[in-house]
């Protein structure tokens, strides 16, 4: 069934709040973070109010309930991403946290001097800087896939140009700047075929399309809760079982061990081996509620709603005089980066903000991509399933007004 944003907004406290104050609230910064529905906020609150206890250690009823909800959240996430075994879903702080764990593990236990880490130039800094650090530590080097001006690239060419020393292929499932969605199945297949590991940054993709990790068959996959209606400070690292078992953890502490002696320890089973210390329990429970909420709406329904809205927005924006869109027109998420010739993105964002329209401007944590696109920065409107065509229209007319104010 098609999604109804008017109905959806009823379960978002922030939309109720602004409906009450009567202030214009057009939130088009969903690629930075999404708004949260009641069910997510309530789940976090319930933990703190009704069963606040530590997990996996406290031998009392509250401890049992907290542990139970924490593990149910993990099971929901496994269902959401079609992961066979929930113990392959490790709770972390975020996408950034997840990628740093993988990069650290691979730098210390896998990469050798002269090995190559292959990336796209579109990576968010969180899927670039950890690899720069891993390269510096291991003696590996970074190489980059050539991209077209809209941020897409030619998969066949990646295969043809494959450097046999490539040991890691790390890339984003979807770009936070261009919105381009990349073919994880093809690329991780290419990596596997050539004996390299694939590491996928799913931060933008998980919110927007059905992700089936079984089918994608990549080695590692990372995402953040807050970009898919979940809380901040919680994320997930998925890994193939044999890899998670083969590598030793990079952080030690409580919970991740079975036995500790003075000189050495034996590590716990998955997923606890990679979850040292007290985790973000409320966040994990909130994320469980978030993915249940998304499954309730239906990821295919979300994808088709946002696709249609993004297509409409691209159409309308491309008809605005002097606007250029930096990204593909199809096979994209709701993140639309654009520039208006003669208007700086920050000026555009300030003026829109004054009109109650929240967008982002700048380099979007992707400096090398700006260089590849040949721009200093972009303005970015990013849509989600609670946004409407009417909001696209208001954005377009506010942009016309922006040009006037800036004397263009």
């Amino acid at each position: 069934m098609a999604l109804d944003p008017a109905l959806i907004r009823k379960s978002y406290p922030i939309y109720r709040h602004f409906a009450g104050t009567g202030e214009t609230f057009i939130y088009l910064d969903n690629a930075a973070t999404t708004q949260k529905p009641d069910s997510v906020i309530d789940a976090e609150l319930a933990y703190y109010r009704e069963f606040c206890a530590n997990v996996h250690r406290s031998p009392h009823k509250l401890g049992e309930e907290a542990t139970n909800c924490f593990e149910l959240a993990r099971a929901s996430i496994a269902k959401f991403l079609n992961i066979d075994d929930p113990s392959q879903a490790i709770f972390t702080s975020s996408t950034t946290g997840s990628i740093n764990i993988v990069a650290n593990i691979l730098a210390g236990q896998y990469l050798k001097p002269g090995d190559v880490i292959l990336l796209t130039p579109s990576e968010h800094h969180s899927n670039l800087v950890p690899w720069q650090m891993a390269a510096a530590r291991s003696g590996a080097t970074l190489e980059f896939i050539d991209i077209f001006p809209d941020g897409t690239f030619d998969y066949d060419q990646v295969g043809r140009n494959w450097n046999p020393r490539t040991k890691v292929l790390a890339f984003q499932h979807a770009s936070n700047v261009t919105g381009a969605i990349h073919d994880v199945e093809t690329l991780s297949g290419l990596a596997r075929h050539n004996g390299a590991l694939s590491v996928i940054d799913g931060a933008q993709a998980v919110a927007h399309l059905p992700v089936d990790l079984n089918a994608l068959d990549c080695d590692f996959y990372a995402f953040s809760g807050h970009k898919c209606v979940g809380p901040t400070g919680i994320g997930v690292l998925y890994g193939k079982r044999e890899l998670l078992e083969r590598f030793t953890p990079v952080f030690g502490g409580g919970e991740m061990i079975l036995r500790v002696q003075r000189q050495s320890s034996t590590y716990n089973a998955l997923p606890y081996k990679f979850e040292p210390g007290t985790p973000n329990i409320a966040g994990a429970i909130g994320l469980g509620a978030a993915v249940e909420y998304l499954m309730g709406l239906g990821m295919s329904e979300i994808a088709s709603y946002v696709d249609a809205l993004a297509e409409y927005a691209c159409q309308r924006l491309s008809k605005v005089d002097r606007v250029t869109i930096a990204g593909p027109l199809t096979n994209r998420t709701g993140a639309i980066s654009f520039n208006i010739n003669g208007c700086h993105p920050h000026d555009i964002a300030s003026i829109l903000d004054h009109r109650g329209i929240a967008i982002r401007a700048g380099v979007h944590c992707a400096e090398p991509l700006m260089e590849a696109l040949g721009v200093a920065s972009t303005a970015r409107a990013s849509f989600y399933f609670y946004n409407t065509r009417d909001e696209v229209d208001q954005l377009v007319s506010a942009l016309e007004n922006t040009k006037e104010i800036l004397g263009q």
Partner: protein, 155 residues
């Protein structure tokens, strides 16, 4: 404050037709200002003769607020002593913090007084301040108080 008064005519005029934009022959000092997150980048250069700014100019790619502020600053600074310009900087800082300033001080700012509305856009104060921060380092270098390679940011 309305958008039209924040992005007023004088601001837009300085941003579209920046004064003192370009390079100056035999400049003897330059400082780069770089706000990476938003993509504002300017280079401020000057020719200093006998403790006075004989010529000053800037180049770069920046937003309307940063460009206009740089243009207004240079307009005000040319021909002045380091102390005079430093005084303008301290007034401007107060101005952007929405602290009250006297009419006399406002006059001292020249065209830069048209940037009052920027104080109503907290996330943009750094744009208007970039040229002043570049100037601050330039002054310190002239007084041997800062190392020669400094690149400044207001982020």
């Amino acid at each position: 404050m309305s958008l039209e008064s924040i992005f007023n005519e004088l601001l837009i005029d300085h941003s579209k037709f920046p004064r003192h934009y370009g390079h100056i022959g035999n400049s003897n000092i330059s400082v780069e200002g770089n706000n990476v997150m938003c993509g504002d980048q300017i280079v401020l250069s000057a020719r200093v003769v006998d403790g006075k700014i004989d010529k000053i100019a800037f180049t770069g790619k920046a937003c309307a607020i940063c460009t206009a502020s740089s243009s207004m600053f240079c307009d005000n600074a040319e021909g002045q002593t380091l102390d005079h310009i430093e005084h303008a900087r301290s007034i401007f800082q107060k101005y952007l913090r929405s602290e009250p300033i006297s009419d006399e001080d406002k006059k001292f700012l020249g065209d830069a007084a048209a940037l009052e509305g920027v104080s109503k856009l907290p996330s943009r104060v750094k744009c208007a301040s970039l040229v002043y921060e570049a100037w601050n380092i330039m002054r310190k270098r002239l007084l041997d108080e800062a190392p020669p390679t400094a690149v400044v940011t207001t982020e």
